[in-house]
Each structure stands twice: as structure tokens, then as C-alpha cells.
């Protein structure tokens, strides 16, 4: 009862200090249809997530418990199966071939001409979200040590700060922690040949950060992004491409400030029906709805505060955004998770359509 006047008092009289606003999609972030209309590289995968390109010209894409192997024209030629858990991250090593992280099982390599081998010391590592290699050293991003990769919503809603950046020491077969206490590092890339620092995204703090290898010092590259950054890859010219899991919405940010509600929601409601970002625009009747999302004349507004979204942003060396590619609330290509460069082409996976897109450098039509 007292809450009523208390809230009124706080809001009208005290004028609470303004919270950090979600930046508007303006300037270089201005919404467009480029992702929605770009050509597709391959279709028909199941739950496409991580993706990596090898120097052998092949493209590896995670699809559930298997890895699909595609030719440079998008044709599926093989699939690497036999994993007992979902594939959460992929990478490529000159000497060890494709690197595959399976939930809770560790990181595997398939050296050219050899059979699959587990990288020693990575056993039982869960929630590996990204793998990067530089100067023959393998670096891993671990989103969370408390939650599985599939439970990323729980990690967000629990304000999970247990993510780590790891380095695999091949000689001793052990894993060293370079940074810890991170808010779900989702993507990881090495900074070119100089190899002085790593760049990683921290999804739940909406930021891109750098990690100095010499000192293990973490610095902010850019923060307060309008979405939850996922994978990051170097564009080959000093800049970066970053994929986004979804946009931040005011309702989710509000719920994150509501501990009591969060506790009850986490305790009683299945994850996919939480007030949380989503990877696909499906209108399940069990999902919470927002006023702006309601259809009128059977149409959803493209500017609606969607649960899911498709977004890839291109940053320059100093983390200024150069351009962005969008699939808006009324689109289908949502849940842009995987990102890799195959030569001069950018490949991106969308979870919602389970497709691999060719947002940039593509030649064939969708």
C-alpha cells in the first residue's frame, strides 16, 4: 500500500537520477533492410550458431550436436558428428585444423590427416563461446562458469559475472585464466599479426573490450551498445565485424532492475517464455507480449520493441561504428549469432532461419 505513494514521491518529487539510456538506432546505427535482403550462402541447417572458415577454403558451421562442413559455394559436403553435447564454438588453427568446443566436454581439434583429438586440459570446460588463434596459441572465451551456453538467458537474468578469457598452453596441456569476472564474453578475436592484445565482446555489459596480453589488463573499447554483442571477427583492415544476439529493450532492462520479479520469473517460468531477448521472432502464445508488438491489420511494426532482432555492425580500428546491417522487428533473419570471414567474404548465421548469410562480399543471389 505504501508503495503507491512511495513510488509517486520518488518519480514526481525526487526525480530519480536518469538511468543510462539505451542509445537510439541513429546515425550509423540507423535501421535498414540490408541483412533482411542480403544473399544466402546456405540454408537448411538446424539451429545454426557458431561458424568458422578454414584456410582450406571450407566453412564449418555448428548445428546442434554436429558440425556442418560446406564448400566455398555453400554446398554441404560433410558433417562432423559424434559429439555428445551441443557445439558451442568453432575456430580454426593453421596447425590443428578446425577447433570445436562441445558443451561440457572440452575443445577438440582435427589436425589435417589425423583423427579428432581433445586439447588436453580443456576437459569439462562448459559454455565456451568463442575460440581464437594467434601465433599458434589458442585463446578461449568462456561465457559463464555457472551456466551452460544454452542457458544464456539465465546468465543474463542472474547478472552472471563469471565469464573468463582463457589461454590453452599446448606444451603443458593446461588452461590459464587471462581475465575473469566477465559479463558473458561472447566473441573473441586476435588483434592481427602483431598479437599484442585480444578483442572480446561482453554481452551483458553491452561492450567490446580489449585484453593486453602482456599485462592481462582489460580496457573498454566501446560500451553502451544498443544490443547484446555476440561474435566478433577482424575485417582484415584493422577493424571489426560484430554480430548481435538481439537489441536491448527497455522492458528487459527494467526487469533486470527488478530483483523480486526476476527471482519469481526464473523460479517458475520456462526460460523461453521469460521477459528476455529471444533468437527468433516466433509468436508463441506463451510468450509475454508488449503493446508495441501487437499486430494491427495482421502486420507487425518494423520499429516495434522486438524480443529478437538481426544486427551486424562494422567497427573501425578505434571502435567507431562504420556501418550496420539490420533485420528489423518485422523481419525473419533474427538471432545473428555466428560470424566469420572467408577470404574477403563475411558469413553470418541466423538462428531464426537456421541459414548462413552472405551480408558482404557475396556474389550469388539469395
Amino acid at each position: 500500500m505504501t508503495f503507491y505513494f512511495a513510488e509517486l514521491f520518488k518519480e514526481v518529487v525526487l526525480r530519480r537520477p536518469s538511468r543510462r539510456a539505451i542509445p537510439a538506432l541513429d546515425g550509423q546505427w540507423k535501421a535498414n533492410e540490408k541483412l533482411e535482403t542480403c544473399p544466402a550462402f546456405a540454408r537448411g541447417l538446424q539451429e545454426a550458431d557458431a561458424i568458422a572458415a578454414g584456410n582450406d577454403g571450407l566453412v564449418y558451421a555448428a548445428s546442434g550436436n554436429t558440425v556442418a562442413v560446406l564448400q566455398s559455394d555453400g554446398r554441404l559436403i560433410d558433417s562432423i558428428g559424434g559429439f555428445q553435447a551441443p557445439i558451442t564454438a568453432l575456430g580454426w588453427s593453421e596447425s590443428r585444423g578446425p577447433l570445436i568446443a562441445a558443451e561440457g566436454l572440452g575443445v577438440y581439434a582435427i589436425p589435417p590427416g589425423k583423427t579428432r583429438e581433445l586439447l588436453g586440459g580443456t576437459e569439462a570446460l562448459g559454455c565456451i563461446t568463442a575460440i581464437a588463434e594467434a601465433d599458434d596459441t589458442i585463446y578461449l572465451a568462456q561465457g559463464s562458469t555457472r551456466n551452460r551456453y544454452a542457458d544464456w538467458r539465465r546468465s543474463l537474468m542472474e547478472h552472471d559475472r563469471s565469464g573468463r578469457i582463457l589461454r590453452w598452453e599446448g606444451e603443458n596441456e593446461e588452461v590459464n585464466v587471462l581475465a575473469s569476472g566477465l559479463a558473458f564474453p561472447f566473441g573473441l578475436a586476435a588483434d592481427g599479426p602483431a598479437n599484442e592484445e585480444l578483442v572480446f565482446t561482453e554481452a551483458w555489459s553491452y561492450s567490446i573490450r580489449t585484453l593486453k596480453l602482456a599485462t592481462s589488463g582489460v580496457a573498454v573499447g566501446i560500451d553502451n551498445l544498443p544490443g547484446y554483442p555476440a561474435r566478433i571477427v577482424a575485417d582484415g583492415q584493422g577493424g571489426w565485424f560484430v554480430s548481435f544476439l538481439a537489441l536491448r529493450t527497455q522492458l528487459v532492462e527494467f526487469v533486470l532492475r527488478e530483483p523480486k520479479f526476476l527471482r519469481r520469473m526464473i523460479g517458475t517460468v520456462p526460460q523461453e517464455f521469460w521477459i528476455a531477448p529471444s533468437l527468433s521472432p516466433n509468436d508463441d502464445h506463451r510468450q509475454p507480449q508488449q503493446l508495441g508488438l501487437l499486430r494491427t491489420h495482421g502486420v507487425r511494426k518494423p520499429w516495434a520493441p522486438g524480443r529478437s532482432y538481426g544486427l551486424i555492425a562494422h567497427f573501425d580500428r578505434a571502435f567507431n561504428v562504420v556501418s550496420t546491417l539490420h533485420s528489423r522487428a518485422d523481419g525473419e533473419r533474427h538471432g545473428t549469432l555466428g560470424l566469420c570471414m572467408s577470404g574477403s567474404r563475411l558469413l553470418a548465421t541466423t538462428f531464426a532461419q537456421s541459414a548462413i548469410l552472405l551480408p558482404l562480399g557475396g556474389t550469388h543471389e539469395s
Binding site: 508503495f3 502464445h285 506463451r286 508488449q290 503493446l291
Partner: protein
């Protein structure tokens, strides 16, 4: 174990919704001045015991009445967007004229009074012509007038003061004017009361009052509306001058003294008073009562200070400070009142919804998901905007209400002919045919209307009985939603919410208070009454097959109830379906003795959880823009068939949500089920019975007979 004391549940009893309702009342502006006046009077009684006693009242009542008359005149000017600084000078001039005539000319009292009024009106006319017709600035014009009248008065006094003071008057009626009373009320107080009453009626109930307010609110808008702005402004100054001079005449009769300081500073006291009362300096806002209330405050304070023996300077000092504070408050109040209302109107309450039947996990559930609405025939695609309800007449023509306020009729073998059958306005929602073949419709924002087969529109009702203990006037039917005609001709219809309308009906769900009701219009008596109060958004209404009860849906409580309208249980309400998995909308009779029900949207676990956390919803409303608010899901719904005992017999889904984007109503006709939706652009139909076995929605025998 459940806690015995549930704080959230208590929030239902907490009348938080009243805050917004009180704030939206027009009299809310008077609350602060009246409170201040009461406090002032209490303080006065304590500081000077006996201040509110009869003798003192009678004595200061005369003084106050003079100031009150001036305040009324000035209030009219300020209300009209102007200012009159010359009231004190006119008052003094009125005093002089009266004394000159009574003492020097020995005129009769009535003539003196008339002369006072004429002189006042003349001086007001000067102001009025300059400001109204020549459009001079009011402030400078009346300031100049103040200086000129004062100077003129000084010259007149120099010439005549001795003659006035030197003469003896023997005029009973003149003395009576200054000292007499009727039934214990001083004459001038009586005049003030009469003038105030007349002005109150004029300002609130007459054309001139509305014009004054319109001009005060916005001269330009008033001009565009066809109001003669100049004449209106002119008349306000004439009124002000006349009343000031009248007050001066009373002062003359009471004091019988001429002096240079008569009425000096009066304008300041009066301006302070009316601003204190909440007559806005910008114009367009205020009332007679408030002007007087503020003047009482200012008068009592200055009178008290004088009584306490403080030098006159203190009085001016205090009044000046009060004026500054009142002006600041007035500006802040005017600016923030609407914000406060906006922030406080929606007042969420606790609502516990039991866990509903799972839809997907259990294939044997009566609500199990299917795709039976995925292949529908579409009628009038993009030719209708929001066909909330649909109905067919005996000739198989299809009617629906749209957002434009039209009733659209489709006819022809494939419904290809579209025509506007009636243009009612408002937002037509529920539809039904009465025994005479008239189309009766619930028009949101207007009430219950009928359309004859010829297309002629007639009103059935637009109000019901006023409840005793509501702040908001609930005799208005804000959200007439759905209706059905009982066999005896009575029309039962729902009023979704007494607090929200068609644009904000989803907010009512967010608030989760029982704001809706079921109404009954009796055509034989022409009366409307509330038959069930306290529904969580009363929606679909349907008379039962036996005609002895009426079924109605409560959208946000997710229940179907039954109201008995004849037989031994008449007036009793019982629950038919207690815990629907979605929000029920319209109900209609099916041809096989059961009922169709549209679920406009499905509940989500998060929504149900949020319903039990009113403070969470309140913070959400305050912190987020409406587009971001969590709201009832009305994107995916289904059609349910149930029997008289509330058993679910069947369920029709559009799994993809593409062919039937939203469904709020359905009507069975010759084996087809016609579907409408509040925000869709089409009517759909789906076959529910083989061609051979087709039938109408069952009509009552009495109606079938009388309509032939």
C-alpha cells in the same frame, strides 16, 4: 504454507485508483485554496478569539463585501485573459460620486446607486474600448487609467471636499444602505451573495461565461471559433468598472468619508486574493467561488495583521510575499497537474489467476493446438478496419462495425458487394438483431444504438444509474462492448470499463481492477440499470439457449459467468468456466445447443506472475513508454466451444497466426463460422458443419415469430 497476511492481496482494497480520479475532477483546482482558507480561519480564531463570532462577522462582513465585489469584477477580467489595475481608483471615484450626490445634491438613494453604476460602467468602458477594440495592452492601459482617475479625484476633492464634509444628510434609506441588514445579513453582503450567485451561473452555464473562458484560454482559438473577441474583452472591463464603483458606493454609505487614500492598494489585495484562489493570471481558468475564497484569505490575513496593531507596511509586505508564492504555485500546478494525473491514473492491483490448463504439452487437453483456422475464406480483405463483431441477417447479408464508426454491409453470393449501411460514429462493437429486425449495436464512447432496416439510426441509451460511492461519474457508458437480446426483449450489454476506453482497453488489463459491469436496457420502460458491477473487463454477452440466463465474459479475470434473468435464481451470478487459458471476448450461441467463445489472446506465465505484483507493474508504467509495456497477449487466440455446464467441447486454432491474425468474435450461420477481429483488416469464415446439416445460430421462438 501460505502467509496469513498478504500485503499484495491487500493492494486490491487500497483505493489507489481514486487518486487519478480525484485529480481528473474539475474541482480539484479548488482544493488547495479552500484548505488554505480553512486553515487561515482557524488561525484567525486562535489568534483573535471571537474572530468568527457573529458580531465580528457582521462588522467585517460589510468591509469584506466591498472588497469581494471588486474581486468579482477583477476575476472576470483575469478569467478573460486581462488585468485591471484601476479598480481601486474606480472604487474611490464611486465613493466620491456617491458622497457628492448625497451630500451636495441631496439626491435620493436610488439615484445615487444608479449614478454610481453608470460612472463605474463609463470608466470601465474607457478601459474596455482601449483594450478590447484598440487592442492596447491591458497592464499599461489600466495603469494609466489608475493614474488618471486618481489625479481627477484629487482635483475634484480639492474643489469639493469641504462642501461634502460640511453638509448634513437626513436620508434613512442611505443610512440603511450603510448600516442596515436583512435577516441579520448586511445589505452589501446580501448584494455580494446575489451578484456572486448570478455570476457563477453566468460563468459556468451561459454563453457569455463560456466565451469569456474561451477568450481567456486562447484569443486566437476563440476568434477562429467565431467568438467576437473584442466585444467579449470589452464587456469584461465594463463589468469590472461597474462592480468597483458599486463597491465604492457601499463604502460611501458605510463610512461617509472622502479622502485621498480611499481604495489605495485595494487592487493589490484583490489581485492577491484571486490568484490565491486559483484564478489563473494567464486567463481561461478560475471560478467565482475560488475568487471569493482567495479574497477571504487575503482579507482575513490583512485584517488580522491590522488588528494585531502592526503598522500598515507589514500588511503589504505579507500580502506581497503571499502573492509571489501563490503565483509560483499556480504556474507549477498548471504545468504539472496533467503529468501528475498521467503518472497516477493507472493504479495496478493484485489479481491471482490460477494456473490454466496446459495447451501444448497435453494433446488430450480440450484446448490442444491445431490448425483448423489455417485455411479460412477471407471476406472484404482491406475493406474493413477492425470488424470487432460480425452478424448476418435473414437474407444472409453480413454486417460489421468498423473503426470509422460505420456499419458495413456485405451482400451478394460471395459477399462482394460492400456498402456503408449506417454511419453512427463512435466505435461500433457488439451487434445483435432485435425482434423487430433492427440492428442493435454497442457503440464504444456513445452507448447503445439501433439501426432500422432502412438504415435509420436511433439511440436506445447512453447512460445508466449513478453509483453512490464512486468519484468518477459512472452513469456514463464509456466502453459499451457486446450485447444480446433476451427473449423478453430486454437488452443485456457490457460496459468493459468505467475507467478506460477503446484506445486504452489494454491498460485496464494492466490495472487489473474490476472496473467493468453488465447493464440492462429495458425497452418497455426505456430505462437502463446496472445488473452486475465489478467485472474484470466485461466483454462478450450472450443469452442462454433456454433464455433464462445471460452468459458474460470477463476478459482479464479469464472467466465466463452466468446471470440468471428469470426463474427462481433471478439476479444470481455464478461462474460457468472458471479458469480459461486466455482472455475471453465475444460469446454466441451455436446451432447445436452449445456456445462459441472467442479467446482474443492467451495468457502467458509471465503475465499471470505480473498480475500478482502490482508494484512491479506500477514501476513499469512509470518508467517505460507505453509501447514497451508488458500487456495481455492479443496476438494469438482461438475459438472455443462450450456447453451450458462450462465443459469445453472443441477448440479451433490458427497455429501460425497468419490467416486469422486476431479473433474477437464469431457468428455461426448456415454451417459457416464467421470471424471478426478488433484490429484486423478482414472477416474470415470457416466451415464448421457439412453443407447438408447447416443451420442458423438458434433464434428464440418468440423472436422468430415476431420478426416475420
Amino acid at each position: 504454507m501460505k502467509p496469513f497476511f498478504n500485503r499484495s492481496a491487500l493492494s486490491r482494497l487500497w483505493p489507489g485508483h481514486m487518486v487519478g480520479e480525484v485529480l481528473s475532477k474539475p474541482w480539484i483546482d479548488s482544493v488547495v485554496p479552500v484548505t488554505v482558507m480553512i486553515i487561515t480561519l482557524i488561525v484567525a480564531e486562535n489568534v483573535a478569539p471571537g474572530y468568527l463570532g457573529g458580531t465580528n462577522i457582521a462588522s467585517i462582513g460589510r468591509q469584506f463585501s466591498e472588497i469581494g465585489l471588486v474581486a468579482l469584477g477583477l476575476a472576470v477580467v483575469v478569467y478573460c485573459g486581462g488585468i485591471d489595475l484601476s479598480v481601486g481608483a474606480v472604487y474611490a471615484m464611486g465613493n466620491f460620486v456617491a458622497l457628492y450626490m448625497i451630500n451636495v445634491l441631496q439626491s435620493p438613494t436610488l439615484l445615487v446607486l444608479a449614478a454610481g453604476l453608470v460612472v463605474g460602467a463609463a470608466m470601465g468602458t474607457v478601459n474596455g474600448v482601449l483594450i478590447g477594440f484598440f487592442r492596447n495592452k491591458a497592464f499599461l492601459t489600466t495603469l494609466a487609467a489608475l493614474v488618471i482617475w486618481r489625479a481627477a479625484l484629487e482635483l475634484l476633492l480639492l474643489a469639493n471636499a469641504a462642501r461634502i464634509a460640511g453638509s448634513n444628510i437626513d436620508n434613512e434609506s442611505w443610512f440603511w444602505l450603510g448600516e442596515g441588514s436583512i435577516l441579520g445579513v448586511p445589505v452589501d453582503a446580501l448584494v455580494l451573495i446575489v451578484v456572486a450567485a448570478v455570476f457563477h451561473i453566468l460563468m459556468t452555464r451561459s454563453r457569455i461565461g463560456w466565451r469569456l473562458q474561451a477568450v481567456g484560454g486562447s484569443r486566437r482559438a476563440a476568434h477562429h471559433a467565431g467568438i467576437n473577441v473584442r466585444a467579449t474583452v470589452f464587456s469584461a472591463y465594463v463589468v469590472s468598472g461597474t462592480l468597483s464603483a458599486l463597491a465604492g458606493t457601499f463604502y460611501a454609505a458605510r463610512q461617509d468619508s472622502v479622502g485621498f487614500d480611499t481604495g489605495v492598494g485595494l487592487e493589490f489585495t484583490v489581485i492577491t486574493g484571486i490568484i490565491l484562489g486559483g484564478v489563473a493570471l494567464g486567463g481561461g481558468r478560475g471560478s467565482v467561488i475560488r475568487a471569493l475564497v482567495g479574497t477571504i484569505i487575503a482579507f482575513v490575513i490583512s485584517n488580522l495583521l491590522l488588528r494585531q496593531g502592526l503598522p500598515g507596511g507589514y500588511t503589504s509586505l505579507v500580502l506581497g510575499v503571499i502573492l509571489l508564492v501563490a503565483m509560483t504555485f499556480d504556474i507549477k500546478w498548471e504545468k504539472n497537474r496533467h503529468k501528475l494525473l498521467q503518472k497516477s491514473y493507472i493504479s495496478p492491483a493484485f489479481l491471482l489467476l490460477p494456473r490454466p490448463a496446459a495447451i501444448d504439452s497435453d494433446p488430450h487437453s480440450p484446448y490442444a493446438m491445431n490448425a483448423r483456422l489455417s485455411n479460412v475464406e477471407v471476406i472484404g480483405l482491406d475493406q474493413v478496419d477492425g470488424p470487432e463483431d460480425v452478424i448476418l441477417d435473414r437474407e444472409g447479408r453480413l454486417y460489421t462495425g468498423t473503426r470509422q464508426g460505420w456499419i458495413i454491409r456485405f451482400s451478394g453470393p460471395n459477399f462482394e458487394k460492400r456498402e456503408v449501411f449506417a454511419d453512427i460514429g463512435g466505435r461500433p462493437l457488439g451487434l445483435a438483431f432485435d425482434a423487430a429486425g433492427n440492428l442493435v449495436t454497442c457503440v464504444c464512447g456513445m452507448g447503445l444504438y439501433g439501426v432500422r432496416p432502412s438504415g435509420e439510426i436511433f439511440k436506445l441509451t447512453d447512460h445508466t444509474n449513478r453509483s453512490w460511492f464512486t468519484i468518477r461519474d459512472d452513469s456514463i457508458i464509456r466502453l459499451a462492448d457486446d450485447l444480446d437480446v433476451a427473449p423478453d426483449g430486454r437488452i443485456f450489454f457490457s460496459d468493459g470499463s468505467t475507467r478506460y476506453d477503446i484506445h486504452t482497453w489494454l491498460f485496464d488489463g494492466l490495472e487489473a481492477r474490476p472496473n467493468g459491469r453488465l447493464l440492462c436496457y429495458d425497452p418497455s420502460k426505456g430505462t437502463t440499470s446496472t445488473v452486475f458491477n465489478g467485472a474484470y473487463f466485461a466483454n462478450g454477452v450472450c443469452a442462454s439457449h433456454d433464455g433464462r440466463s445471460v452468459l458474460f465474459a470477463e476478459s482479464y479475470a479469464c472467466v465466463i459467468r452466468r446471470l440468471w434473468i428469470s426463474g427462481p435464481k433471478t439476479g444470481k451470478v455464478e461462474v460457468v468456466i472458471p479458469n480459461l487459458p486466455g482472455h475471453p471476448d465475444n460469446i454466441n450461441r451455436a446451432s447445436d445447443g452449445s456456445y462459441w467463445l472467442a479467446l482474443v489472446g492467451m495468457r502467458s506465465a509471465v503475465w499471470d506472475r505480473a498480475m500478482t505484483m502490482p508494484s512491479f507493474r506500477l514501476r513499469m508504467i512509470k518508467q517505460l513508454p507505453p509501447d514497451e509495456w508488458l500487456c495481455p497477449n492479443v496476438n494469438i487466440g482461438c475459438i472455443v466451444k462450450f456447453d451450458d455446464n462450462g465443459n469445453i467441447l472443441d477448440c479451433l486454432w490458427d497455429r501460425e497466426g497468419r490467416s486469422v491474425p486476431l479473433v474477437t468474435s464469431m457468428r455461426e450461420h448456415e454451417g459457416w463460422l464467421y470471424l471478426g477481429g478488433l484490429t484486423t483488416n478482414r472477416i474470415s469464415r470457416v466451415r464448421v458443419k457439412p453443407r447438408s446439416d447447416s443451420a442458423h445460430e438458434t433464434q428464440f421462438p418468440s423472436m422468430a415469430v415476431s420478426s416475420t
